[in-house]
């Protein structure tokens, strides 16, 4: 399963990196992402809604890291 480490990147870089990553994936692929910018918890799902990708899981761990799981839909 492809994973994107977007820790220590601030908005909107996590969204830009997720977009670049998904550009190289095909429909049905599942991408996991880790971010430290808490805004990513809103921004990445918002971008996915606009692009039609499915956010399967979006959580924040006790240390504050945001973890997202995205199913690519093209």
């Amino acid at each position: 399963m492809p994973h994107l480490d977007a820790r220590y990147l601030l908005c909107p870089m996590p969204v830009i990196r997720v977009g670049a990553c998904i550009a190289n994936l095909v429909s049905g692929d599942v991408l996991t992402v880790t971010c430290t910018d808490r805004g990513a918890l809103n921004d990445v799902p918002a971008w996915c809604r606009l692009e039609g990708h499915e956010v399967i899981q979006a959580t924040t761990d006790p240390y504050g890291d945001v973890r997202l799981t995205i199913r690519v839909k093209k």
Partner: protein, 347 residues
């Protein structure tokens, strides 16, 4: 109006004006997609993203939120490297601080023009309002943006279009000029009323959240250039200028002191790039050190680190000095007393 559905790309900043401009186009049956350029500077929300004590507003990208309200796609484009030339060599000079507003607008519209051409779109839309901004939105500078960007009459400003010469989309009947607006000046009440009528949420009346218009930020950026002896920066430089207290105790080195847990966490991401210091037996900041230092400098940096932590009143504080490679040494240091701390060190 002809039957072909025309396509417009709107520069969506996340502010109110471009949100309304996009909506006016949607109202006329235009296919609209948004584009947002990330320069590294237009990011006021970063302070809130980093600091844990700033939870007073929603942590979200304003441009994305606008796109969601409009129901349009948003293309966020990283222009950090290309934008350096705009910051370093603005043809039209700076505003009050290091803000190259006119060059910036020309650059962004120019990038949007390229995107328009590459993606088969017909025209560009911005939320500019005649007379709203002192540098880039004057009657004599709006044509400069259209000309230098190469967009020419494919650049439509729906909020003030009726005060300007008709553009190609208006002349060709792609949009109805009579339904466009004639807003003028800095009064934003008409936009706020329109936003209420549409039921829009917006982050701030103006999209302007550029750090280059901030006096303190501009001072820190100039200090960076001065210390290097040349005007250059990279992405991490401009990110770090937004975080922490910045002190220059000596001309040849600078300290970035985390102010709270969120900033310390952010600065942790730079431990493999800079010498860093922290108190091992007291709570306190993570401190990044930039510059070339000798042992006396490291002792001073350690005592400053101790001063900003909870051991500031202790006779001695153990401070770790970490190297980018991972090695570290420990120093027992006396926190720098007030009389030895020079307020002029603050940038």
């Amino acid at each position: 109006m002809e039957n072909v559905k025309r396509k417009a790309v709107v520069l969506l900043s996340g502010g109110l004006d471009s949100l309304l401009a996009a909506r006016l186009m949607l109202d006329q049956g235009i296919h609209v997609e948004g584009i947002n350029f990330f320069t590294g500077f237009c990011v006021a929300g970063h302070t809130h993203a980093v600091r844990k004590d700033r939870q007073d507003r929603a942590l979200r990208n304003s441009a994305l939120h606008c796109a969601e309200q409009l129901g349009i796609r948003l293309h966020i484009v990283d222009v950090i490297d290309e934008y350096k030339d705009v910051v370093l060599n603005p043809r039209h000079g700076y505003g009050a601080y290091l803000n190259p507003c006119l060059d910036c607008k020309g650059f962004m519209v120019g990038k949007a023009r390229l995107w328009m051409e590459q993606n088969g779109f017909d025209f560009i839309v911005t939320g500019e309002v005649l007379g709203q901004r002192p540098m880039s939105q004057r009657r004599d500078t709006l044509p400069v943006v259209a000309r230098e960007s190469g967009a020419l009459d494919r650049l439509l400003r729906p909020l003030c279009a009726r005060l300007l010469a008709p553009t190609l989309p208006e002349r060709e009947g792609w949009v109805d000029r009579d339904q466009l607006l004639a807003l003028n000046g800095r009064n934003r009440k008409p936009q706020i009323a329109l936003a209420q009528a549409y039921g829009f949420e917006y982050a701030q009346p103006a999209g302007g959240c550029c750090f280059l218009t901030d006096e303190n930020y501009a001072h820190k950026l100039q200090d960076l250039w001065q210390s290097r002896g040349e005007r250059r920066y990279d992405f991490d430089d401009i990110m770090l200028l937004k975080v922490g207290r910045h002190l220059r105790p000596r001309p040849h080195f600078k300290l970035i002191v985390g102010r709270e847990e969120g900033e310390n966490r952010f600065l942790e991401g730079y431990r493999n790039r800079f010498v860093h210091l922290w108190a091992t037996e007291h709570n306190g900041p993570l401190v990044l050190l930039q510059g070339d230092t000798d042992e006396a400098d490291l002792d001073l940096a350690a005592s400053i680190t101790a001063r900003f932590g909870q051991g500031r009143a202790a006779p001695s504080v153990r401070v770790a000095v970490g190297q980018p490679g991972g090695s570290q040494d420990l120093r027992d240091t006396k926190p720098l007393p007030s009389h030895a701390f020079d307020a002029c060190w603050y940038l």
